[in-house]
Amino acid sequence: MNLQLFLLIIVVITALAFDYTNGFHDTGNAMATSIASGALSPKAAVTLSAVLNLGGAFLSTAVAGTIAKDLVNGHLVTLQLVFAGLVGGIVWNLLTWLLGIPSSSSHALVGGIVGAMIAAVGGHGVIWTGVVSRVLIPALVSVALAGLVGAVGTWLVYRLNRGVPEKRSEAAFRRGQIFSAALVSLAHGTNDAQKTMGVIFLALISYGAVSRSAALPPFWVIFACACAMALGTYTGGWRIIRTMGKGLVEIKSPQGMAAESSSAVIILLSAHFGYALSTTQVVTGSVLGSGVGKPGAEVRWGVAGRMATAWLITLPAAGLVGAITYWVVHEIGGYPGTIIGFALLVATASAIYLRSRRTKVDHNNVNAEWKGDLTAGLDEADQPTVTVGAGAPGRNGEVTDVAPGTASAKKAGMS
């Protein structure tokens, strides 16, 4: 086996791992509001979403223009660089998952690849106008558009249902939500599985295993990507689902349906008009909108602010990891470089996983009452929680903002 083939195999495995993190990172996009409103049980929701993501992935008939095409100089892309970019994407996806922050998987991947490119040849390998106009500005546009549409939809729903007994309207909207959530899942599968297919396809072409003129990747690539994403979706990124469904806004089923309809329609429209908007940012915008549009609803702007911060540092942070990985793999070189790079990825992923086990968020406690941050109150059922809500309400989940008692309770749980 020559080094290039070895690298290719590592890239394919890493790409599928990225696809898996992409799946569980984004389960919340489609299902968080259905789970929070009780329209679907947590297990039923992730199963439905996994099946639809699987189906959606098979519906792809063309690989979406390779994700990095307009962002980096395609002639300078090597297998090492793709590997380093993927590592950047995976590590950032796992870190944000640990913190329960819905951030864009595409941004993480783009950040990783841009960072690796800078490490490889310097800033001139990056098409900066592309990064700004195709990644940064669309992120703002997504939140604004989806927020407005979600808010108007929610307001209309509550206006039109004035006088309808709440029980009756809740029940009807819970049924409606199943359809709107299904649409978001299907659209997600078609859009997002293509990203990884594109990466593997690119790697196969650069190795010479697939002809440059091929329109579709080999069937095993489609199959593997669809399965990796569906498996990830089924695993359920419970931490992120919790933030989306409980942390931002307390969601009732009419709001959930309005938010999901807004997300589904905007994702499809953006594909139709050729202006790619990130699923995560569209959904977050819609959920915020559903909080703004419902009379008397509370939006936890602190949680939203924390997300926005994470979005801002997604590119540089994933880029840094991508750059370091590239440097390690390239400087050491050969088999050892690749093996050490891969081993570092596995070690980091394991460390993050073990950390997440300390305060587990899963299908049992995903809907537990939001007490100031992601994990507050989840594993301290036997401890008094009187301090929560006393003094400064720690609504944005930052240690500095919570009452002293909560901070120590949090410490007990987290460290």
Binding site: G56, F58, L59, S60, T61, A62, T129, V132, S133, I137, V141, L145, A146, L148, V149, G150, V152, G153, T154, L156, V157, L160, N161, G163, V164, P165, R168, S169, A172, F173, G176, F179, S180, A182, L183, L186, A187, T190, A215, P254, M257, A258, S261, S262, S263, A264, V265, I266, L268, L269, S270, H272, F273, G274, Y275, L277
Partner: protein, 98 residues
């Protein structure tokens, strides 16, 4: 269209987004309201439900529900349009033969 910001696409997404993304839940809400009115359970602002059943309104609510369902089906077909085109030769909803 500027290099940095795609005004045209953004405005189109906003317009059709409001029409469909806000309109569909509103339509659904209308169906829920018609159903509640048909069952005589709408609460007046100054008192409890009047309580007359009205089959016509119940029927209307089912019609509106069906319209919403059709919208979802069109959405699914839209997502699958290229796949359907490639495998059946029937190009719908603006799918283009490769």
């Amino acid at each position: 269209m500027s290099t940095w910001f795609n005004y045209e696409a953004s405005l189109k997404i906003l317009f059709f987004g409001l029409l469909l993304g806000s309109g569909l839940p509103a339509l659904f809400a209308l169906a829920v309201r018609a159903g509640a009115a048909g069952a005589g359970t709408i609460e007046a602002s100054d008192g409890p439900a009047v309580g007359h059943k009205n089959p016509a309104l119940t029927a209307l609510s089912w019609v509106v529900y069906s319209v919403a369902l059709v919208a979802v089906v069109i959405g699914v077909l839209y997502i699958a349009r290229d796949f359907i085109g490639v495998h059946t030769g029937v190009y719908i909803l603006g799918a283009k033969p490769a």
